[in-house]
Symmetry: D2
């Protein structure tokens, strides 16, 4: 079980929804992206904005994203999103997101990201680096 979980609430907006009256799929990936930033912010105690400079990384590039749409969400619904790191590997990690409405799981999302630094030899490139032990420790 993950010991560090981030929970946030947000209300589905008119502009998130498509002509079917339900949230357009790409919007969930926006919601999950910022949920990951908020998870790291909460776990590491730095603002998402300061994360890159604090850890000398270029960010947390996404290598894989996926979502399972179980129930539609619509305008005015209050969504609760819980997010946690499900696995840390040497330089990459998996995040899971559960978006629920009225206590029922509506969308299950997943991301794989890397801990990335600017390549010293070629500053136009980025390379994956081992995730510091104290970063992993913060997630329990």
């Amino acid at each position: 079980m993950p010991s560090f979980i981030n929970r946030r609430q947000m209300t589905i907006e008119w502009g998130h929804c498509d002509p079917g009256g339900i949230v357009f799929n790409s919007r969930y990936f926006e919601m999950f992206d910022i949920s990951t930033w908020m998870l790291f912010e909460a776990a590491l105690g730095v603002t998402a904005h300061e994360l890159a400079e604090t850890f000398a990384i270029v960010g947390l590039p996404l290598v894989d994203a996926r979502a399972n749409f179980l129930k539609p969400a619509k305008f005015g619904d209050v969504a609760e999103i819980t997010s946690w790191v499900s696995e840390f590997r040497r330089s990459s990690f998996d995040i899971e997101h559960h978006l629920s409405i009225n206590g029922e799981l509506a969308v299950e999302g997943g991301e794989t990201r890397v801990w990335a630094v600017r390549d010293i030899a070629n500053p136009d490139k980025i390379s994956a680096l081992a995730i510091p032990a104290d970063v992993i420790a913060r997630f329990g």
Copy 2:
């Protein structure tokens, strides 16, 4: 002076920003759209989702939108958006939005919308209707 003002806070997301590192202009119009829904929700005491059925309207179609970009907003900035109706006319009205960061006005937005119902003769069309006096009264 308007007597009814809606105030909300939101944090600028990574996905709101462009390669210049600042909020991409279309995102402000998303922020203003939902701010208008929230203003009506607060003033009329119904959820935005129920607004249409409660007042037998098809929505509040936008006929004009505009924004003045005074200062850039960037990832992690906490924006405060204040919104109010600056003028009610027979069947249309103007909303003003002020988006501030750290107490400084960053974007000034404006919208003109109509109070619209489905046309009885032609349900595919909508027509503007006089705004009920009790709706206007709620805004002070």
Copy 3:
């Protein structure tokens, strides 16, 4: 091998990119969604807009979406997206999308969708229906 493939080109826009200067992940899911509509339009010979009425369906609801980000795309890049149905099952099917830049695969996307009709007993619900044989036949 699929016999019916849809190919389209699009140019990456400034507003598709994030502060890292590369396409923000949710934008790829927008690109894949419309690519699926275009694939069906091309295979079935009806406009995406007419698809629902022609086949008496409510659309092609998405139950699963996924993407693998292999190379970043940036402002001004010309992306070629090839899309095809990789598997038809009774009432659901898988679509694959390959987004390439300069002939190199940049993003691999996948979707699972259902052939859905409005539930007769409960018009607020939708239910999956067997995909007509002549629809499948059009994809080769």
Copy 4:
């Protein structure tokens, strides 16, 4: 009359539309933003991507955007967008955009932008610079 006009066609996507079945307003501002880049690309003969380095500018920051919504656009509509510079001033200029569907004007958009360089004294700031005469000349 402007002598240089950019014309482009695009098809309205499912994901551009809201639960009312029409294009959500912020999407028009995305369409106009990229239309401006394409206008400059066509007039100046450099790709939008190369514009900044070719002219040693940081971009064409937007100071004002506005739109008039005359007729709704919906999924599958083919929109033609014509764009031109309506006025050049010392360091700022106005762009007009006409979005038509089936030859009828649906949205009238306008932008005011500046010709901006990085401030030498303070590289975190940008300042407006006189637009080169040969740039203006290219627009006729």
